[in-house]
Amino acid sequence: MIPRILTMLVALVLGSAAAAETIRLAVTTSFENSGLADVLLPAISEDLGLEVQLLVVGTGQALRLGEAGDVDAILVHSRTAEEAFVADGHGTYRREIMYNDFVFIGPKDDPAGVAEATSAADVLKRIGVTQPDFVSRGDDSGTHKKELALWQAADLSPERFGPWYREVGAGMGASLNTAAGLDAYILADRASWLNFGNKANLALLYAGDAALFNQYAYLAVNPERHPHVRNDLAVKLEEWLTGPRAAQLINGYAINGETLFVFNAKPE
């Protein structure tokens, strides 16, 4: 019986099939959770015959993957970090693709009165006064960086907050789960929120300030730094992502009748 088990094992090991042309793209959790990837990837494979392997991580880790040359390109949303990435020579340029927006989520009874706020800074000031539970991503992701920038714009610094400010150090979905469990406030991107399945007692309380816009950019990893990256494929993918088919799919993507993304890539 031992040979029989061995044969089974060998069959399993050899069973892994080889794929055609593949490119590794690091994307943020918010992009993956929005469900847009499920629309774009089949179209890319149809038009370009290219299999895009997505690594879903926070913006911080996505940039690290790009710096190490472990992926061919990245799609993230944190402008200052992206510019630093290019300035350090890890990428040659950044190309803006589309944007969506961040929204404030909180308990339906809204103890901090966030729904009546007049701006994003006003939302945070109200939260700073009432001090209800607030969940922060705390994982150096694009959303986390945005949240910190917003606190700064509201003249508040999270380091000095009490235990009501909870840094969970997790992805968007896990953080939303925590907020749902605690009945806490949280900053989320609209796409992740609409696609989130465990809304519990939470509701969308504030959106619409221009400060909450969330620009996604595409950065190909510098082939001079990492000769093994498939820059040819990365450029091909960039052309597709900034082209008419992508524009139509991105602008047309909606959940429950709400469009999520606005395509804003400029032709070269």
């Binding site: 399993l12 979905g173 809304k199």
Partner: protein, 234 residues
Amino acid sequence: MSDIYEGLVSAFWLVVTLDPDLVQISLRSLQVSLTALFIASAIALPFGTFLAIRRFRYRRLAISLLNALMGLPPVVVGLIVYILLSRSGPFGVLGLLFTPTAMIIAQVIIITPLIASITHQAMRELWAEYHDLLISMNTSSGQRIRTLIWDGRRNLLTASLAGFGRAIGEVGAIMIVGGNIDNATRVLTTAIALETGKGDFALALALGFVLIALAIGINICIHWLSRTEREGRW
């Protein structure tokens, strides 16, 4: 409670309809964990037996270390394997990061000490029984190890199955070195973590039930194939 019920119902439908995604990630889970188990057993069974029969200077230290390594945190193993296999790391040229091979490497590191340690415990007792016989027959150490492994195969099966259990249920390390890429490195445990993140508890639970069923199934299969616990012999 309704989440658990919904999870059971959707698990049932996923299995009955042979959902292609489910079949694919389940097969990949098996491929990764069984390969890791095979490699780890090939290392750990002889090594654990060797530790039981040979007396050498640092034996006690080696055994304590082995026992401590049973509790090796998978996340740390994942991180170390990740750094080693990264393009900017020492083994970067191999291009193994984010492939099933990387996941197998991480799992081998995690389960080898566990299997070796259980093997050592089992073999120590068997060696006490066989000691005089094997010594009097003037056997070489290779022959002794082979004899003990063959005669102690039931115990070794338990050791290997414990390793398999740890491998198939492991998520921390393979998430880091595999990257949970759809159609490439997604396995049951990482898919469960992903669906939990999306707040889709029903699907996450369904995958969880499939994982548990798979682990039970494999255990029963291996016992059946190796004919343990049968009447008249054991």
